[in-house]
């Protein structure tokens, strides 16, 4: 049986991990490779690195950061942020990413999802969708790190991406991002019901109960950033709590190495 994945997310800018609320007010949260190695030790099933560079200068360092992460990781790494075409994706994969996330560029040019899928395989292509609640109901897709609203309906867009060859949907609730108010469960239900590919829930997690709710709402994996960076929770503590809730997770083999390394 497949286990539910717990995925720490590193928002990286200019070689440092940052984190904000609703994609703004970024503050420093540490060195990407150190954090990545620590999360793998804690039992992370996978890592996501989102390049949130604001300048070209910062963006140039992204591939180096990917290579640094690859050198310390023996679990999968998804890299997104600023992927504009097949060439960008190829560079990130070459640097050590296992999957690439694509967001704004896919909204501009949906066929990009098909081209990436043909070239690298569906399992390599993660479509990241930033969704914001509409006053009149439903969710609209935001692009450019949440700064620009589109008229695209998030559920319909997710379905279309699956048809175009996406292998996974990384679904972030803009309303909940960084707020620790819990995932947007209605959004999760709507999108996971609309697609056949796995859905990663993102935005709003504060503790294991939020994750358990998200999984019940249809998430195949749950992503979180702030709660891990702040040391409020570890991946291990979240997994043990989820297991008590009856969620199937990959538990560390006795946790022996974790303890050994702490003693050193």
């Amino acid at each position: 049986m497949l286990t539910t994945r717990i995925i720490p997310c590193l928002d990286v800018r200019g070689g440092r991990v940052v984190k904000g609320v609703r994609f703004a007010g970024l503050r420093d949260a540490g060195d990407p490779a150190e954090l990545a190695a620590e999360y793998e030790r804690q039992g992370a099933d996978e890592l996501v690195m989102l390049d949130v560079s604001a300048t070209l200068e910062e963006r140039r360092t992204a591939a180096e950061t990917v290579a640094r992460l690859r050198a310390v990781l023996s679990v999968p790494l998804t890299v997104g942020g600023g992927v504009g075409g097949v060439g960008d994706a190829a560079r990130l994969l070459e640097a050590g990413a296992d999957k690439v996330g694509v967001n704004s560029a896919a909204v501009r040019d949906p066929e990009l999802v098909a081209r990436l899928s043909e070239r690298f395989g569906a399992q390599c292509v993660v479509v990241a969708i930033d969704a914001a609640r509409r006053a009149e109901g439903g969710w609209r897709v935001l692009v450019r790190s949440g700064s620009e609203a589109t008229e695209l309906d998030a559920t319909g867009w997710a379905r279309r991406c699956g048809e175009l060859g996406a292998g996974e949907v990384l679904l972030t609730s803009w309303d909940r991002d960084g707020t620790r108010a819990g995932y947007d469960l209605e959004l999760l239900r709507a999108v996971s019901g609309a697609v056949r590919v796995p859905v990663i829930a993102s935005g709003g997690a504060a503790h294991a109960a939020h994750m358990s709710e998200a999984i019940e709402a249809g998430a195949d994996a749950v992503l979180a950033a702030s709660i891990f960076h702040d040391g409020q929770e570890t991946v291990g503590s979240i997994k043990r709590a989820l297991a008590e809730h009856g969620v199937r997770v990959r538990l560390r083999e006795g946790g022996g190495r974790e303890r050994k390394e702490q003693r050193r």
Binding site: M1, L2, G96, P198
Partner: protein, 222 residues
């Protein structure tokens, strides 16, 4: 990292693996895993390497048809089929396992290496595809390199049944499918050992250790 030391302690230092690189598959993670074990890696698309290199890795990402076209185009299909047929040290990963079959539902008409029997089909039923994440592996009976644990998968297609004469480990996702097959020094995995944490690194380490010992003639061939 501790794994380099671990690799050296197991006597893996000084080894070199040849990774078949036709430009279709992404090999960064595979290289990184071997390097963490203290093993050198070399990329090659030369038929003489596929035929004679002591340790060969056949990674596979992308489609069955595209991967086979790339192998044939480079003259690699024959040498690879021969070394796998003879049980010489070869590690095939993900699509690499499926390429051992004669054909796949993914690319009708495309001819595989044809060294194992069995059908490669898409996951059916209500399960989400791709099959993505960590799944439980049930090792083959009779003791093999694969131990019980969880491995990382990212696949939409799979081998339905293990071929006769091979040790077959399995996983379940709506249905039972082949997780890994082993014969001689050939280990073909549907999961990604290079992305399966410590469990995966230990598996790679065991494949290297048994393959290298046999290559040096310290262990009688079985």
């Amino acid at each position: 990292m501790a794994f380099g030391d671990e690799g050296a302690a197991r006597g893996l230092g000084g080894l070199e693996v040849t990774i078949i690189a036709t430009g279709v598959a992404n090999v960064a993670s595979v290289r990184s895993a071997f390097e963490r074990l203290g093993v050198r890696t070399r990329l090659s698309a030369a038929p003489q390497d596929a035929a004679r290199a002591p340790l060969v890795v056949l990674p596979g990402v992308g489609s069955f048809g595209a991967a086979m076209a790339a192998l044939r185009g480079a003259g690699l299909a024959g040498p690879l089929a021969a070394r796998i047929g003879e049980g010489r040290p070869t590690l095939a990963i993900c699509l690499g396992l499926q390429l051992l079959a004669a054909s796949s539902e993914e690319s009708p008409g495309a001819e595989g290496l044809g060294v194992i029997a069995g059908r490669v089909t898409r996951f059916r039923g209500g399960a989400r595809v791709p099959h993505m994440g960590w799944n439980v592996v049930r090792p083959a009976e009779g003791g093999t390199r694969v131990e019980a644990g969880e491995a990382y998968y990212a696949n939409s297609f799979k081998l339905d049944d293990g071929p006769e004469g091979w040790a077959v480990s399995t996983s379940e996702y709506g249905e039972r499918f082949v997780a890994a097959v082993e014969r001689g020094d050939v280990l073909a995995c549907q999961f990604h050992p290079e992305l399966s944490g410590e469990w995966g690194l230990r598996l790679i380490g065991r494949w290297l250790a048994t393959s290298a010992r046999r290559a040096e003639g310290r262990v009688a061939a079985c």
